[in-house]
């Protein structure tokens, strides 16, 4: 017996598209070549709807909804781009730049950083709110990797890949609000972590220069994420 699949039709930016029930707006948009910016989202990891870059407008709803976690519905009219959305996305980026220390010229991810690319795409040429510049530590105790909290945007991709894919759950988040910090084990030095398998997945899913490999130059430190869709696909239950 073939499994029953329910189909929903909707429009995204005026284009009629078909989708399977349960798919998110983001999935359907990407299948149809419609780009929606995302930062915390990464294909292969559980979505959390936290960065708010993927907010979209939906006809008949006053609320903006995150495309990465909102399932499609029949007859939905989605707008992925508008002056208002562009403004809010720029402000999210401004907030992230102001929160910690993102000086691209001295960052190992310069030129292949997702935050930097989005800033360029969205025309963020200056930040209107004051920089908070907290002085956060750099943990270089791990044999191969470094975490620089000054570059972290708290997207928690590292937390999720370590938990969901590697199964180690070395990473987590401590404290709250703007004091939040990603931690290894119980906020101890990464080098002393007993749960870390040194697989390096966290480094490669990190969108910025917060996690990087030691002894790599800027050109060498391009993140490789090809493993993620592959691992996810291989783990899907087969018929």
């Amino acid at each position: 017996m073939p499994q029953e699949v329910r189909i929903r039709t909707l429009t995204i930016d005026g284009r009629p598209v078909g989708a399977r029930e349960g798919e998110t707006i983001l999935q359907v948009a990407r299948e149809n070549g419609i780009a929606i910016p995302t930062l915390c989202h990464l294909d292969g990891l559980g979505p959390i709807g936290a960065c708010r870059m993927c907010l979209v407008e939906i006809a008949g709803s006053r609320r903006l909804l995150p495309a990465c976690v909102t399932p499609v519905a029949e007859g939905m009219e989605v707008k992925t781009d508008s002056e208002r959305l562009r403004k809010y996305r720029r402000m999210v980026l401004e907030f992230l730049f102001s929160e910690r220390n993102h000086i691209c010229s001295v960052c190992v991810s310069n030129g292949h950083c997702e935050l930097q690319s989005f800033a360029q795409q969205h025309g963020v040429t200056s930040v209107r709110v004051p920089y908070l510049h907290p002085r956060l530590e750099v943990d270089a105790t791990h044999r191969r990797f470094v975490v620089d909290h000054n570059r972290c945007i708290l997207c928690t991709r590292c937390v999720r890949v370590c938990d969901e894919i590697e199964g180690a759950h070395t990473w987590d988040v401590m404290a709250r609000g703007w004091q939040s910090r990603v931690i290894t084990d119980l906020a101890q030095e990464w080098g002393t972590s007993e749960s870390c398998t040194s697989c390096g997945k966290c480094v490669h899913v990190c969108p910025t220069g917060a996690l990087f490999e030691k002894d790599k130059s800027v050109a060498e430190m391009v993140k490789r994420r090809q493993f993620l869709p592959y691992l996810k696909q291989m783990r899907e239950p087969r018929e």
């Binding site: 959390i48 708010r52 809010y88 907030f95 929160e99 609000g177």
Partner: protein, 532 residues
């Protein structure tokens, strides 16, 4: 089972009749902090020393409302109460003297004043009248009869219909129709459903839920059990903040007693209905009052909200359909069953039915706890019941809804208090905190205070709330110091708009409200502080 309840009730009433005099001493948190427990001890000692144990009993009861005049004592002789205020342990002999003589004039608290006469008590009907640590007292006041009536005579659908008819809306702040919420959980599929009582009250200046739990915990348990029967749940949790040790102690005791009596646990009332309740303590995060964060916290995860939908009714605790209501909402349920939904619907306004408990705080004469019908004018609450502004100051505004609410200025004092009217003036009903401000308060400072609260209580998950609250707080600090410019106010408005429209949960969405409402009603105060 109903017969057994009646038996207990009769036995209690008979026992009470043995005593010509009963001295009720408030032992809820407010009076307790003013040595209410010592007053009780002294009175009990005095009664004993005079050998009056057979004629007079002195016992601890819940909150009597007028917290600022505590410790409060009510001497009930022949069914008529005489109330006393600011009682000290040293007053015990005088009070015991008064049993057979004249009342103690210097301590008298007149009960014919509007603070008492203008209230309508449903949720608080037993507060201050029964000993919260004795289930028999609750039963004698009609407690648990609604639950057993429901189990014996009503179908789950009928219960939900009754709640629908009452027009009750969520008392946690958002005002979602309770009947609708129950019916969605009842309709949801799944064997294991949960009922959660949200007792993570966290707004500064709000203490309604604490008082209900300290004064009448069984009422909340009964409401939860009725809800569980209506939606088909077997398990319940009460999520109460660890900062409420007395409420926790009394809940634990109430749970033990209710299990023992068969009002909770397996085969409740010897019917085929099981419902067991556990306590879970919050570890001090404000955001855990948000329903999805609260559920994550019970699951043992980091207390952070997640995007809705799916709502907890569809996917809640451990993925199961979950009903989550606030303390005061559950506390309304036994009365709705007893008197019928139409009865509650006859109180209040067209869209806001019943009563609301408010915690009066700030620059107001009568600080304490009140319960008033929806639709009452703000002026009546503040000037009549509250006795007006304390000291020489002039009324400036009343803050409702805590960090998610706003400040309502004098021109709106004649506005009715209901969900819609409060939203119109950029505030919210909220859970019931009311802080009165006089002209010594700077509204920019007030906005800054609440923003500081939201900033330090933001969970940090979504960017707009995590960073936006810090940036707004920075701008407010700058303006309050007299260093701000017109550009800063414009930026503040822009950030408020962005945080309100893009945040993940209610905490972030409502965080700009104190700023927006003070900008709307008190822009002159911002302008006066600007540089140049």
């Amino acid at each position: 089972m109903i017969d057994e309840l009646e038996e207990i009730a009769q036995r209690e009433q008979e026992a009470a009749r043995q005593f010509p005099h009963t001295i009720n001493v408030c032992v809820a948190a407010g009076c307790l902090s003013n040595r209410g427990d010592k007053v009780l001890e002294a009175l009990q000692g005095e009664v004993k020393a005079r050998g009056l144990e057979g004629r007079c009993r002195a016992r601890g009861v819940g909150c009597m409302g007028l917290c600022c005049q505590g410790p409060l004592v009510a001497v009930v002789s022949g069914g008529r109460p005489t109330m006393y205020q600011t009682v000290t342990p040293e007053d015990a002999p005088a009070l015991v003297d008064s049993l057979e003589g004249e009342p103690v004039r210097r301590l008298l608290l007149p009960t014919d004043q509007p603070f008492f006469s203008r209230q309508t008590k449903i949720v608080l009907e037993n507060s201050g009248a029964i000993d919260p640590e004795r289930i028999e007292d609750y039963v004698a006041a009609g407690g648990y009869s609604s639950l057993f009536k429901v189990l014996a005579m009503m179908s789950p659908t009928e219960v939900i219909d009754e709640v629908h008819r009452s027009g009750l809306r969520g008392r946690g702040g958002a005002g979602y129709p309770t009947g609708l919420k129950w019916s969605t959980v009842a309709k949801a599929s799944g064997e294991n459903k949960f009922v959660i009582c949200n007792a993570d009250e966290g707004d500064p200046g709000a203490f309604m839920d604490r008082s209900v739990l300290e004064s009448d915990p069984h009422r909340v348990l009964e409401g939860m059990a009725i809800a569980a029967y209506a939606v088909g749940a077997k398990y319940g949790y009460i999520y109460v903040r660890a900062e409420y040790p007395l409420a926790i102690k009394r809940l634990e005791k109430a749970l033990r007693q209710a299990n023992q009596m068969g009002a909770l646990g397996r085969r409740v009332g010897r019917m085929t209905f099981d419902f067991s309740v556990d306590l879970r303590l919050g570890a001090g995060a404000f955001v855990c009052g948000e329903e999805t964060a609260l559920i994550a916290s019970i699951e043992g995860k980091r207390g952070q909200p997640r995007a809705r939908p799916p709502y907890p009714a569809e996917r809640g605790l451990w993925g199961h359909s979950t009903l989550i209501n606030n303390v005061e909402t559950f506390a309304n349920i036994p009365s709705i069953i007893r008197h019928g939904g139409a009865w509650l619907a006859s109180i209040g306004t067209e869209k806001s039915k019943g009563t609301k408990v408010f915690a009066l705080a700030g620059r107001i004469k009568n600080t304490g706890l009140i319960e008033v019908p929806m639709g009452i004018r703000l002026r009546d609450i503040i000037y009549d019941i509250g006795g007006g502004v304390v000291g020489d100051g002039r009324f400036k505004a009343v803050q409702t809804g805590g960090p998610s609410g706003g400040c309502i200025p004098a021109p709106f004092l004649d506005m009715p208090v209901d969900y819609e009217s409060l939203a119109e003036v950029v505030s919210i009903m909220g859970s019931g905190g009311m802080i009165v401000l006089d002209d010594t308060s700077s509204m920019v400072d007030v906005a800054r205070y609440f923003m500081e609260f939201s900033m330090s209580e933001s969970c940090g998950k979504c960017v707009p709330c995590r960073v936006g609250t810090v940036q707004m707080h920075g701008l407010l600090t700058k303006i309050a110091r007299g260093e701000g410019t017109a550009g800063d106010v414009a930026l503040l408005e822009e950030l408020s708009d962005m945080v309100r429209n893009t945040s993940l949960c209610g905490l972030g969405i409502a965080a700009p409200n104190p700023v927006l409402s003070t900008l709307k009603h008190f822009r002159n105060e911002y302008d006066a502080l600007l540089k140049g």
